[in-house]
Symmetry: C6
Subunit: 75 residues, 6 copies
Amino acid sequence: MTDTWLTSLITKTPQEGFELAITLSRRGVKYTQPNPEILHKLRPEYAEDADSLIAGSEVVALNFQTVAAANNYWR
Amino acid sequence: MTDTWLTSLITKTPQEGFELAITLSRRGVKYTQPNPEILHKLRPEYAEDADSLIAGSEVVALNFQTVAAANNYWR
Amino acid sequence: MTDTWLTSLITKTPQEGFELAITLSRRGVKYTQPNPEILHKLRPEYAEDADSLIAGSEVVALNFQTVAAANNYWR
Amino acid sequence: MTDTWLTSLITKTPQEGFELAITLSRRGVKYTQPNPEILHKLRPEYAEDADSLIAGSEVVALNFQTVAAANNYWR
Amino acid sequence: MTDTWLTSLITKTPQEGFELAITLSRRGVKYTQPNPEILHKLRPEYAEDADSLIAGSEVVALNFQTVAAANNYWR
Amino acid sequence: MTDTWLTSLITKTPQEGFELAITLSRRGVKYTQPNPEILHKLRPEYAEDADSLIAGSEVVALNFQTVAAANNYWR
């Protein structure tokens, strides 16, 4: 990928940090499957499946650990 | 999402921290599937399935790691 | 849940810490499925399935990481 | 469980630490399924299944993270 | 493997760090399956499967935790 | 196991550290299934299956976190 999408892990609030964790999780998918049409086609497969949604939330939790540590937990 | 739902990771007690970890885990799902009707329909799929419940508890454990570190483990 | 079940992550010994990690893992399930009858019905599904038992042990390992860090590893 | 099986996370060598991580992983299973006959019966189910063996190694990796940190990585 | 592919975890930007995490995740596969033909043949199996893509993103998240810590979160 | 296979987590380079993480991941399997013939028989089951390869890479990522921390990230 040649576009710049991540220049800092620092966010103003925990919620923005959580949303950055969402972005990181999605980018982790896009590096493997960059084709937006295939990703769109797969959407019902995971967005309407409980186990896929839980697995997605696990990836977000891992990335939120990183972002939260980077921001010293917004203390 | 435009609503504000997360302004701090600091909680008064470990139990409130655990409950915040539950909230983070659910939000991790809602960012992918924001439709409450679909989420409601999926509920029996995971709330009555042992493996889904264990997977859900794993996401909570990861988010609790973050919240506990943020609170310096309520020492 | 309105009952108080978690007031501290500090334990006297590593074994008590491990047992607290078990409690945290079970609570992570109960917040999603609070009905004890359903949980009881699901028991054979996971307690006699190797993969579910391994997944359960993974959740315990994650929560034990948190409890052990909270106790400075009982050094 | 009433027996004492874990009094310290400190080990003399990294290898003993790894072996303690194995013990922790097995104990995480035994707290859920303490019946040794059932555990014995399940053995071929996971010990001859590649995915179960990989999942088991993941639990060991998580517990080894804890033990290694407790021992300051035996530096 | 005899080639040198990893001499440092330090990167100039978070995005380069994320891309290094992708590399680490792929290398973790190649050490087990070094045959490029088999890897190529497996590609549709995971690149067009939602659950495999989420699992891949989880590995990236774990490796990104390591790279981010190495770089002191590019603070 | 009576042989000595792990005397230190310190390595000269990040790549040697990654290779140690591979070793730790394999040892995590061998403690459960020490029979080399069974392990050999299982090889096609995981080495030609995308999901098993991704799961294997996840275990390596977890062990690499430990080795990297032990080496202070080779900074």
